[in-house]
Symmetry: C2
Amino acid sequence: MGKALTKNQALVLDTLSRADGPLSAYSILDDLRDEGMQAPPQVYRALEKLLKTGLIHRLESLNAYIACRDPDCVSHTVTGFAICETCGDVIEFAGEKISRQLKDWEDDNGFLAEKTTIELRGICKPCKG
Amino acid sequence: MGKALTKNQALVLDTLSRADGPLSAYSILDDLRDEGMQAPPQVYRALEKLLKTGLIHRLESLNAYIACRDPDCVSHTVTGFAICETCGDVIEFAGEKISRQLKDWEDDNGFLAEKTTIELRGICKPCKG
DNA sequence: TAGCAAGCGTTATATTGTAACACAATAACC
DNA sequence: GGTTATTGTGTTACAATATAACGCTTGCTA
């Protein structure tokens, strides 16, 4: 059972959940002007908390944020993202086998990963036609 | 056989090659003030070209750039990076097996990846002690 | 040698992210 | 309950990263 969210955290999460794609911190801010969000730090602080609790993800190659769609995402070692350059859709995937391969590499090389980023940029099935 | 590099491209590549870690675009710019580099676009244009030819990599989670150390890096489908949060060292790895797993996922899901990012943030062997 | 593509230098601006400060709300503890 | 530590808030100012746009040069190449 996670802690309850504060007002700002809930607002940011709600905005990301309603969006059908990744949003930048500043577009979240714009969406929430009317709700009392005035300045970047308010958004970034909420984002930071939501990231830590795993409710959202950050897409490093886009500098953007997305709500986690996978109900038991936290149970996965790594989460991968396939980002379509054409339609902007983002597919979140679990990659159990990839997890294992990465773990193997880590063990072989004595590296302890705290956070793993896997992002594919390309063209999704619908857009390929 | 690739084309020869222009002066700016060679300067940027040289700076990255001499560095013992990733550099931001702006620190490259600072390093090259004396060589005639005056403004961000000059650096970013050189970086773009070097990225396209595979001579350097961009670390998405750091907004930084690094010279490719792997002589036949282009032959790999994907390149992974393990970034030590303590010492800042970056280990480039090939991940043949991971490549294959990702390819499987792509095939299964009809996704055509043009660029793949794999970055591990954590602690390297020497720093763990 | 005319035309085109790529690169250059420059100015200005857009986008993304933090530092720092004073204060308020919440939770933890005796 | 009252005290204290922790976390979050609102704000101003600023740092760091990246791109748009313009006119010019260079080097092919047809």
